[in-house]
């Protein structure tokens, strides 16, 4: 036995000990000093699933649901479970070939992997769903049906006010500090957007453990960290769906807008913008395609003209001008002028529709006969008020009045992206006229032309002020929110009473009576309703557009504003129909029918034919139709080139792929693609970036050769 090797056992022991020390140090590094492994382990194995609550429902003033949550059915595919499934049979039911089937399968695998289910076909048609429901047992477990809640709109109406929901995009993700996640849906416009925090409810989170193939195997820590979802709160609105549907029916073949407000509360009864669209287009599987179709439509059906359309108000502004002058104390109700058919106070005469003397002998008469001379003069009196040292200051005060009435500022309606109209600053004139101007320079403001634009909502709100004799509540849709919660403060701004004038009720009475005369024996006779006293004002606004690069005067916009009953106002309405001529021709009857329906709950039978006549009437400029035809033929040529089939060229029907895929019947009697900007309807290439500049320039051009006004 070689004794000299005894010492080597120590060496061997040391080697082994050293190795174990290394291993333990390594474990110490991994387990104690590397917290990232714990995070990675949770990423690996814990699935954080958000439970989406039902969105709140929106009801009209009579408790009818304007929109609902309904279920659509998706056909889901689980690629790992496809073995032995009769895919040919499935293709037969779905009406696809095997190539298409393979394509969808591959897409599903790429999107979610083999072990997680993907959508094979979203929002199945009723026909396919019924067939699949009967046969689904044949295709399980590789395929199954899944319910998915979406919005549906039983009235097919109110698209502009309700807005739509859609997937959040990256900018929203960033803006909300990642409160939303990729794939979430949120309100993107309209009431859905404005009341998003209330409607969405509270999301719940469920933590589940998944295995290495992403299959859920159980709850994490027995649901210790889970939170439950709380359904969104319902909204009660002022909207009257009967009136709303009627208003949209009137606007179906026209460009323009209708706004009806309850003066006492500021609650909006109806708001329609023509052309409109079926809100059901923007739900379900075809949403993306329909959306791009609506977006590229030259008529801009997505554009809510009621809050974004900016029009010269024309004669409808005259009662407002009277109020300013009365409040400033420069006129009294007995003030009158002798007018012989034109106003000669400034360099060029301003024509007046009435020629007989005495039609502007006092305020009531002047309003009733819409005397241009009278209101040009009244405007000048207000601006040249001796209380102010010069026209600059006078105009600034006048502008303040207009702003307090809601013109040139955003009213703050509960819809996103409201526009403010246009009331220019003194600096605008100083710059344009090199500091040398007077009340004659912009005298047209007194008759609602020139550097002045108003939205239909602002006009309706103005009617509320006159109806209320001097105050208004910010127009809004939502009366109350069901239940109590943190979001309630969202309604606070709508409970503030805005006092805007200091004119005694007796003088308001005179303005109102002047407007009542308009209906009883003035330009608004067409709006008379037996048994109801109506105060109103017609307007016929001149406007210009650029057609094929040439600036042309277009057919006048038809305005009508009113409220009723005069003694105890329940509804105030503003109607504009673009390029429809005299205010009394189209806008007046529309307002009258809506008032009758709202106040009497029903229409006289002889008026039903009138409803149909107005609804059928198509008011579109010839040039607009040319433009639309050109677009259609471009589409047809493109389609023919794509298909390599010249027969598409001769096909009278517009190219099929560009039509939204919903009930074709709706599409047919619906909107007609027209032009983009309603202020300057026929510009070829709208540049949204400097829209404001454009409109100021355009107005400046407009005022150079201002003509007459009714």
């Amino acid at each position: 036995m070689p004794v000299f090797n005894q010492s080597r056992q120590t060496v061997i022991r040391l080697i082994i000990l050293a190795t174990f020390v290394i291993l333990i140090v390594r474990l110490f590094i991994l387990q104690i000093l590397s917290p990232q492994y714990q995070i990675q382990a949770i990423d690996n194995a814990v699935d954080r699933k958000i439970i989406y609550p039902d969105r709140g429902i929106i009801f009209d003033r009579n408790g009818k649901a304007i929109l609902e949550n309904t279920l659509t059915h998706d056909l889901m595919i689980l690629p790992t479970q496809l073995k032995g499934i009769d895919t040919i049979g499935l293709c037969g039911i779905m009406g696809i070939d095997t190539a298409e089937f393979k394509q969808r399968l591959v897409a599903a695998i790429i999107k979610n992997g083999r072990y997680r289910p993907s959508v094979f076909e979203a929002s199945l048609s009723m026909d396919k769903f019924v067939k699949l429901q009967e046969n689904i047992y044949r295709f399980e477990p590789g395929f199954y049906l899944q319910d998915r809640p979406i919005r549906s709109y039983p009235y097919k109406a109110a698209a502009h006010l309700l807005g739509y929901i859609g997937e959040v995009d990256s900018s929203i993700l960033k803006r909300t500090n990642y409160f939303y996640q990729i794939g979430d849906y949120m309100g993107l416009s309209g009431i859905e957007r404005f009341y998003e925090p209330v409607l969405m409810g509270t999301r719940g989170v469920r933590y589940q453990i998944k295995d290495n193939k992403n299959r859920i195997v159980g709850s994490f820590e027995n649901g210790l960290y889970d939170t439950t979802a709380q359904a969104g709160r319902n909204l009660r609105t002022y909207i009257d769906m009967d009136i709303q549907v009627m208003a949209e029916k009137f606007m179906q073949n026209k460009l323009g807008a209708v706004v009806a407000i309850e003066p006492k509360t500021g609650g909006i009864i109806a708001m329609a913008s023509g052309p409109t669209y079926d809100p059901n287009l923007l739900t379900g599987s075809q949403r993306r395609r329909n959306f791009s179709w609506l977006l590229t439509d030259t008529a801009r059906p997505l554009f809510n003209r009621a809050i974004k359309g900016q029009y010269p108000p024309g004669s409808t502004i005259k009662p407002t001008q009277a109020l300013i002058a009365l409040d400033e104390g420069v006129i009294t109700p007995r003030y009158g002028i002798g007018c012989n058919g034109a106003y000669y106070g400034c360099r060029r005469p301003i024509k007046c529709t009435e020629k007989w003397s005495g039609h502007a002998a006092n305020l009531r008469l002047a309003i009733a006969h819409s005397c241009n001379s009278f209101f040009s003069n009244v405007y000048r009196l207000a601006v040249d008020n001796p209380a102010y040292k010069n026209v600059d200051e006078g105009y600034a005060h006048w502008k303040n009045y207009m702003n307090s009435f809601g013109f040139g500022v955003r009213l703050g309606v509960d819809l996103p992206s409201e526009d403010d109209g246009l009331i220019v600053d003194t600096s605008f004139y100083n710059k344009l006229y090199n500091n040398s101007w007077n009340s004659c320079t912009n005298v047209f403001l007194g008759i609602g032309q020139g550097e002045m634009q108003a939205t239909p909502l602002q006009m309706a709100n103005m009617m509320c002020i006159i109806a209320n004799k001097g105050y208004y509540y910010t127009p809004h849709f939502v009366d109350s929110i069901d239940g109590k919660g943190a979001g309630d403060s969202i309604l606070n701004p709508f409970h503030v009473r805005h006092e805007v004038t200091h004119i005694p009720d007796s003088i308001y009475e005179i303005v109102q009576l002047g407007m009542q005369d308009v209906i009883e024996n003035g330009t608004g006779r067409v709006a008379r309703i037996p048994g109801i006293s109506i105060a109103g004002k017609t307007g016929t606004a001149e406007n210009y557009g650029i057609i094929n690069g040439k600036r042309e005067k277009l057919e006048d916009h038809s305005w009508f504003v009113c409220f009723a009953p005069r003694e105890n106002p329940k509804i105030a309405i503003a109607v504009i129909v673009e390029n429809a001529g005299f205010g009394a021709t189209w806008a007046g009857p529309i307002a009258a029918l809506m008032m009758e329906k709202y106040l009497n709950d029903t229409l006289r039978t002889e008026r039903l034919a009138e409803v149909e006549r107005i609804a059928e009437k198509e008011i579109i400029l010839p040039v607009v139709k040319q433009k639309r035809m050109r677009l259609d033929s471009i589409r047809r040529v493109r389609l023919a080139l794509e298909m390599g089939d010249s027969s598409a060229l001769h096909n009278a029907i517009p190219a099929a792929p560009d039509k939204p895929e919903i009930d074709p019947n709706i599409r047919k009697d619906k909107t007609i693609p027209v032009i983009k900007n309603s202020t300057l309807p026929l510009r070829d290439t709208p540049k949204p970036a400097d829209k404001k500049n454009d409109s100021i320039k355009a107005v400046a051009i407009l005022r150079k050769d201002e003509g007459t006004e009714s």
Binding site: N5, V11, I12, I16, T19, I22, Q31, Y37
Partner: protein, 445 residues
């Protein structure tokens, strides 16, 4: 029992037996933790359909075998050592015509539902044969010839095992050099072997030219510091230059040749992965199939190690508790009941549990060395050192692999990994030692 049958228990080292029981129990518990799927536990054990049930059965078989071994006369092992060795070699060779390919290995013979891996079993026979050779009266281990014979006893089965694509098991045989070192193999052999390993690793880590410069600088420094010795004895200079030549030769030619022509691409890839570098894919010398294989393996082995590190790392200080480990319970760690069984302990019982397990192993190895040193016969001592070396090597490679210190080499963790052959092999290995130790006063030849 001791009273009735004093023959068995006499001289048995109960500490080792208890350690054995504890480790196997921890093993079955870990397999249970990794594979339990909410079935009835009792039924799971009885039905033998679950992995922990099967492992319990192997445990019972092992104990029976252990009792048989304790009943055997110690002289039986010395007498039959050579016979068993040739029987082992025969089994290894039989694999070639009769193997069944399972998961890429060609080392398994299957009869009916029973699988046998001779490469695993052969460790016992090699250990016995080596002990037998070293303890022969006419073996003078200081002679080169004896050293070469001892080395070939170890290396022949190793080479056969490599041919069966079981690199891990083949490497285990190198652990027997520790036994030879104890018995008088010059330490220069171990030092040279260690230096070679360092050189190879440096070759992998460093650019060829950088390494060549470093080697040259070392040689120059050696010449500078030994200039006086060199003046007296010119041979030293030649010796240093020769070493330098060999080193550069290995670095420049031998390693690339070995990697390109001897090892499989995936093996090379694993070695590269361990030192933290990507395998240099050379489209000129590799077929597209090989490239694909390398990439697959690269993905698989880096995935294994990553998941294993996550599992162990997420255990923290005290661990998540039995059956609470999300990574091991839900199959994130591949092979977690066999080669990666340590992850279950690491995740479930944290740093404390893992360290206790390592200390148990360390205690067992030290106990075996202690036992080895108290033997009167060389045979028993050599055998004991063999057991210690094999255990040590397995633990080092297996746990080193799960914590990302060693390439992914598929060898089991002794007494714990799922698998009948492995458990029985280690049991037999250990119980022969206990039997020999019981007769430590005898001189066995």
């Amino acid at each position: 029992m001791r009273e009735q049958n004093p023959e068995i228990s006499k001289g048995v080292d109960w500490i080792l037996v208890w350690l054995y029981f504890i480790l196997v129990a921890i093993g079955i518990m870990s397999i249970f933790a990794a594979t339990y799927r909410n079935e009835s536990i009792i039924q799971g054990f009885i039905s033998m359909k679950t992995d922990y049930g099967k492992q319990s059965l192997f445990f019972v078989i092992s104990i029976v075998l252990g009792i048989f071994i304790l009943l055997t006369d110690s002289k039986f092992f010395t007498a039959t050592a050579n016979l068993f060795y040739f029987f082992g070699l025969l089994l290894l060779l039989l694999v070639f015509p009769f193997h069944t390919e399972v998961k890429g290995t060609k080392s398994i013979i299957r009869f009916a539902s029973f699988q046998l891996q001779p490469a695993e079993l052969c460790k016992i026979f090699v250990n016995l044969a080596l002990a037998k050779y070293l303890s022969r009266i006419d073996t003078d281990f200081s002679k080169l010839k004896s050293q070469l014979i001892a080395a070939s006893i170890v290396l022949v089965p190793s080479v056969i095992t490599i041919m069966q694509s079981e690199t891990g098991l083949a490497l285990v045989y190198f652990s027997f050099f520790l036994v030879m070192y104890r018995e008088g193999l010059p330490s220069s052999v171990l030092i040279i072997g260690f230096s070679l390993a360092v050189l190879v690793i440096a070759t992998l880590l460093l650019e060829p030219n950088t390494l060549a410069i470093i080697l040259t600088v070392i040689a120059a420094l050696a010449i500078y510091f030994m200039r006086r010795t060199i003046k007296r004895d010119r041979e030293v200079l030649f010796f240093i230059v020769a070493i330098w030549f060999v080193c550069v030769g290995i670095q420049r030619f031998a390693v690339p040749f070995f990697f390109n022509n001897v090892l499989k691409p995936y093996q090379v890839q694993r070695i590269y992965a361990t030192v933290g570098r990507d395998f240099p894919i050379d489209p000129a010398t590799m077929t597209p199939e090989d490239i694909k294989k390398v990439e697959d393996k690269k993905k698989a082995s880096s995935y294994n190690v990553k998941q294993s590190k996550i599992a162990i790392g997420s255990g923290g200080f005290l661990g998540k508790g039995l059956l609470k480990g999300t990574q091991t319970r839900y199959d994130f760690v591949p092979e977690q009941r066999t080669d990666f069984i340590f992850c279950t302990v690491g995740e479930g019982f944290g740093f404390v549990g893992s360290t206790i397990l390592l200390l148990l192993y360390l205690f067992m190895i030290f106990r075996i060395i202690f036992i080895a040193e108290r033997q009167r016969s060389t045979f028993s001592r050599c055998y004991a050192y063999g057991v210690a070396s094999v255990l040590f090597f397995h633990i080092l490679i297996n746990i080193g692999m799960t914590v990302g210190l060693v390439p992914v080499i598929g060898i089991p963790l002794p007494f714990m990994s799922y698998g009948g052959t492995a458990l029985i092999t280690f049991t037999v290995l250990l119980f022969i030692l206990i039997r020999l130790d019981a007769d430590r006063q005898m001189v066995l030849r």
